[in-house]
């Protein structure tokens, strides 16, 4: 089990405003890491750092940025976007095209394979804005898989989904993880995190509150507090 990400004493944020520091954790191949934390705790900054979009202020983050399949939070723009499912999934391959202005056969095949895997082949020609929330997330997940070599980074993927769609998506992600893909998920949902994740990283105001396996989290003091309050945002 190779280590894919190591984060040592990393501080994130801007020169004059650190949003999170003393981050220490590592992710090995096949892990399912859930990053918990309240709003403003620096989760999205951490995501950006992992993607290599925003370097850490200090400390060390070792991570192969390329090859991470990223599923960002939905934006307003996407809600009403006229694009077919196929167009969106294929755009996951763009990281590989460089300056080439078209997709190769292999890339198209990869996109088709990912759509098959997530059961959205039927929707291929549908318009993204006509899909349900759950279907939209699966489209974006397929796109992320096209870009992913062996790791997925999901930013609050179940936000705005109804409970059934949430469960389906969690199961889908868990299935992908079983197939050997490393999963890192930013989430609010502590119950689901404990249920599905293998590791948990909790960040509080400016600092790391917990890092360890899900089992350790459940038996830790902090974990129990948060589980009891249902992961409420108030500390």
């Amino acid at each position: 089990m190779g280590v894919q990400i190591t984060c040592k004493n990393a501080a994130l944020g801007y020169e004059n405003r650190i949003v999170a520091e003393n981050l220490n954790f590592s992710v090995s191949a096949g892990d399912y890491l859930c990053i918990l934390g309240e709003n403003g705790s620096g989760k999205s900054t951490l995501v950006k750092a992992l993607l290599g979009l925003k370097p850490q202020v200090s400390g060390e983050i070792v991570c192969a940025h390329q090859g991470i399949g990223y599923l960002p939070q939905q934006t307003v723009v996407q809600k009403d976007f006229p694009a077919s499912v196929r167009e969106i999934v294929r755009s996951g391959c763009l990281g590989k095209t460089g300056l080439r202005p078209f997709y190769t056969k292999d890339e198209k095949a990869l996109a088709a394979q990912m759509m098959e895997q997530l059961g959205i082949t039927k929707l291929e020609k549908c318009c993204y804005r006509d899909l349900s929330g759950g279907q939209q997330q699966r489209v974006l997940l397929a796109r992320a898989l096209c870009a992913a070599k062996n790791m997925l980074l999901l930013d609050e993927p179940v936000t705005g989904l109804d409970p059934r769609a949430q469960t389906e998506l969690y199961e889908q992600i868990a299935a992908l993880n079983k197939n050997g893909i490393t999963v890192i998920m930013v989430s609010h949902d502590i119950a689901a995190a404990v249920k599905y994740a293998s590791h948990i990283l909790q960040i509080g105001k400016k600092k790391q509150l917990f890092f360890g396996t899900a089992a350790e989290y459940q038996s830790s003091k902090i974990g129990q507090t948060f589980l009891a309050t249902g992961g409420a945002e108030d500390e």
């Binding site: 599923l71 167009e87 078209f102 020609k125 006509d130």
Partner: protein, 284 residues
């Protein structure tokens, strides 16, 4: 003499009618291609702001008495595009205010300059034709046509080469960035191309009506089509047809060119909205 024969005669007889068609259709094509991206990225306001900046720059160029106004207008507009994009990135509201400030400011300064240092005896005429492009499309010189063709080819090439990237950046900037696409670079490219088109389109419809040329075809296409590619193609077709029809109508019936094109764009928009509603799509 019926209108068709009259039109054919105009075509054969007057080089400026031919120029108007070549330039008008090319500008419409470029504007519509980019329009889809701008509308979807919620950048329509930048187009509007830039058109005012172009007006201001045009005024400065007129005052300094340059024969080739493009030398000033193009760089200034491109620069403002970059500036607007930069400010727009930080915070939304500040960006909006910046656009409003720059555009209204440019408008005021431009009009002021044209009045204080009149370059010709007919200020109202100059202002009016720059704002509404009354007939400037029919008064193009050969060099204008050449410049326009070159710029249109550049825009089209860029668009074809970077089509998929532009799609990705439009649909999901964060994802595009994460997959190693230089999203900011492409945003910049989009802004630069937009300003090029706006400068070109001032000849066709005048600076106040440029936004219409950019957004209407895209909005119409989005009523009916549901994939990015079909929206782009439909938008281009609508735009070219409307521009052609607008120019023909204005030549035959002596209506102002810019407004005729925009009105035909609007007509298509309402027609498409109606069709969408009749089809009962949930986005009608």
């Amino acid at each position: 003499m019926n209108n068709l024969a009259k039109l054919a005669d105009y075509f054969a007889t007057y080089p400026f009618v031919r120029y108007a068609f070549v330039v008008g259709l090319l500008i419409a094509l470029c504007a519509s291609l980019l329009g889809v991206t701008l509308v979807l990225k919620r950048f329509s306001f930048i187009g509007d702001g830039l058109s005012h900046v172009a007006f201001g720059a045009m005024a400065v160029a007129a005052v300094t008495g340059l024969t080739n106004k493009m030398i000033i207008v193009l760089p200034v507009t491109v620069l403002s595009a970059i500036l607007l994009l930069r400010t727009g990135q930080n915070t939304k509201i500040k960006g909006d205010a910046a656009v409003a400030m720059i555009s209204v400011g440019a408008l005021a300064v431009g009009y002021m300059l044209m009045n204080v240092f009149p370059s010709s005896s007919n200020i109202t005429g100059d202002v009016c034709s720059t704002l509404f492009g009354s007939t400037s499309i029919l008064t193009l010189r050969k060099s204008d046509v050449a410049l326009c063709v070159v710029m249109a080819v550049i825009v089209l090439l860029m668009f074809l080469l970077f089509y998929h990237k532009i799609f990705a950046v439009t649909f999901d900037e964060s994802f595009a960035q994460a997959s190693g696409i230089n999203a900011n670079g492409y945003n910049l490219l989009i802004a630069v191309i937009t300003s090029m088109i706006i400068v070109l389109a001032m000849n066709l419809v005048g600076s106040l009506l440029i936004s219409a040329l950019i957004i209407f075809p895209a909005l119409s296409a989005m009523r009916l089509f549901r994939s990015f590619r079909s929206v782009i193609i439909c938008s281009a077709v609508i735009s070219v047809i409307c521009a052609g029809a607008g120019i023909i109508l204005s030549i035959l019936f002596s209506t102002p060119v810019g407004s005729t094109i925009v009105v035909s764009d609007m007509a298509v928009f309402f027609l498409f909205s109606l069709i969408a509603r009749c089809k009962g799509g949930r986005h009608a």
